[in-house]
């Protein structure tokens, strides 16, 4: 195959990846605390050696996390929490501390506040949050202070990643912050609400159509290129 074909193929495979990202965003348009994701393409210059000039290829090698606020919806649940601001909840998984915006928590049989997949939610000091049994009415204030019948019993930790561009996604709407994190004093917690996914369906559908058309254009180009090569061979063979 010719260089032209290779260059087009790098773009086509990047577009397929982007289509997957768009499909994943749309599939997660009802996932609590989900952050939309995008792909950026970059030029990848390949050295050809000899007297030849270099060859430019396309590569989808960067992902973008859209960390904007999702819409809050009222659920009325005592332990349903939404974050207004840039912070994240801290949860302890077997692989270490993870960040999440999914505030769908519930106390487990031992009284620890856990996520929907059972991982403990950590407090401001990094210890699991404990809900005393038979505590009566639980109220959670905007700074995360938990109170049972007016008596403070703990504080839910809210942190902010030091390097927001370097968040690794994990299943269960969790992020791994390799760059570390710090306590976030600016975000506010809202009790009885959950934050929806921040996927904008209009943008995603527009992106999807764009990707689809660009892909068809690429295939068309490959088709023509194939035709051109065949024609050249036919002419030479005469």
């Amino acid at each position: 195959m010719t260089n032209t074909t290779y260059t087009t193929l790098t773009r086509q495979s990047g577009l397929l990846d982007e289509m997957r990202v768009v499909a994943n965003n749309i599939a997660n348009s009802s996932t609590t605390g989900f952050r939309s994701e995008g792909v950026t393409f970059s030029e990848w210059v390949s050295r050809l050696g000899g007297n030849h000039e270099s060859l430019s290829m396309a590569r989808a090698n960067t992902r973008v996390n859209d960390l904007s606020q999702g819409g809050l919806s009222r659920t009325g649940g005592t332990f349903d929490l939404a974050i207004e601001g840039e912070g994240f909840f801290l949860v302890l998984t077997p692989n270490g501390e993870r960040l999440t915006r999914n505030g769908n928590f519930t106390p487990n049989a031992q009284g620890d506040l856990v996520t929907s997949d059972g991982y403990p939610v950590l407090d401001a000091g990094g210890a699991p949050v404990f809900i005393p049994q038979g505590a009566g009415t639980i109220a959670i204030s905007s700074d995360g202070t938990l109170s049972a019948d007016g008596q403070p019993v703990g504080q839910i930790g809210v942190v902010r990643p030091l390097d927001a561009t370097n968040l690794i996604r994990e299943n269960g709407v969790r992020f791994r912050a390799d760059g570390g994190f710090e306590p976030d004093g600016e975000s506010r917690l809202v009790q009885g609400f959950l934050e929806g996914s921040n996927v904008d369906p209009v943008l995603q559908i527009a992106r999807m159509i764009e990707v689809q058309r660009a892909y068809e254009l690429g295939q068309n180009f490959l088709d023509r290129e194939d035709e051109r090569v065949r024609e050249a061979i036919r002419t030479l063979g005469k």
């Binding site: 397929l16 990846d17 289509m19 997957r20 990202v21 768009v22 499909a23 994943n24 749309i26 599939a27 997660n28 348009s29 009802s30 996932t31 994701e37 792909v39 390949s46 050295r47 090698n61 960067t62 992902r63 009325g76 649940g77 005592t78 999914n102 769908n104 519930t106 106390p107 487990n108 049989a109 031992q110 009284g111 929907s116 997949d117 809900i131 049994q133 038979g134 009566g136 009415t137 561009t165 370097n166 690794i168 996604r169 994990e170 299943n171 269960g172 709407v173 390799d178 369906p201 995603q204 999807m208 159509i209 990707v211 689809q212 892909y215 068809e216 295939q219 068309n220 088709d223 194939d226």
Partner: protein
């Protein structure tokens, strides 16, 4: 084409949501019913280019990688524990729980079940049972000659006899609370059984240990909010349509691939 499978997970998630919503709407008039809500979580991410890996061509470190998500899954379908409105029925064994807690009944196989449905009845022998005929624990028998029954907020059951002025105490109704009531397993007929996730029941007199109080002559309505359910239904339907659009687009891309000679 992974996009096809990813969109399919999205469609099946929205379908789960519609099923949960239709069950809520179907139980709009079930006494003491708490609506359920489907929660979703993203599936595993495939790291096609790990952040921090070294670029082979020129040795630079990639600041961010490429992670491709594989779709969505239902994470949980949990109860929304909200107090339903109380409606007056006037029945002397209609007991609504205001606050948290469950009545305990004994199933025919001897297991304990818990219910917020306080439409209690009495058997021919005067035993207090729930609508299914299972005895309420602790068992209380109302003598046939009792003129009227009174249940106070703390669960004490009194009966008045003949022309006597003073009431006679027949027994005490308790409530059971759970550390994680969302962890109870629903077995139908407004009843639940204990699981490892809910924790053991904490039995106490109504009004103590954070439990609710009883209201005689009232029943707790279902706490389903039809307006919210219908808006959720519309949202789920549109979500389904969006995912089906992705399937169409992915299919067309696949068709373009196939058409290349």
């Amino acid at each position: 084409m992974r996009a096809l499978q990813i969109a399919a997970t999205g469609m099946s998630a929205q379908q789960t949501r519609v099923e949960v919503i239709s069950n809520n709407l179907a139980n709009m008039n079930s006494t003491g019913y708490n609506p359920r809500r489907a929660e979703f979580a993203d599936l595993h991410y495939q790291q096609t280019a790990r952040p921090g890996t070294i670029n082979a061509s020129d040795g630079t470190v990639l600041p961010t990688g490429v992670q491709l998500g594989l779709g969505v899954q239902a994470a949980s379908v949990s109860m929304v524990l909200a107090q339903g409105a109380l409606s007056a029925t006037g029945g002397d064994l209609d007991l609504a729980i205001e606050g948290s807690g469950y009545f305990e009944v004994t199933l025919p196989d001897g297991r304990a079940a818990y219910t917020r449905d306080g439409a209690l009845k009495r058997t021919g022998d005067g035993l207090i049972v729930n609508s299914e005929g299972f005895p309420v624990i602790p068992e209380i028998t109302i003598p046939a000659d009792a003129r009227s029954i009174s249940v106070n907020a703390e669960g004490e059951v009194y009966a008045y006899f003949g022309d006597r002025v003073a009431a006679e105490r027949l027994g005490q109704l308790n409530l059971s609370g759970f550390t994680n009531p969302k962890g109870l397993e629903a077995i139908g007929s407004n009843m639940f059984v204990e699981t490892e996730a809910s924790g053991p029941p904490l039995v106490a007199v109504p009004g103590e240990d954070g439990l609710g109080t009883l209201q005689q002559g009232f029943l707790e309505d279902s706490s389903v909010d039809p307006v919210k359910e219908v808006t959720d239904l519309i949202e789920a339907q549109r979500g389904y349509e969006l995912n089906s659009k992705v399937i169409t687009a992915a299919d067309q891309m696949l068709a373009a691939t196939v058409q290349v000679r």
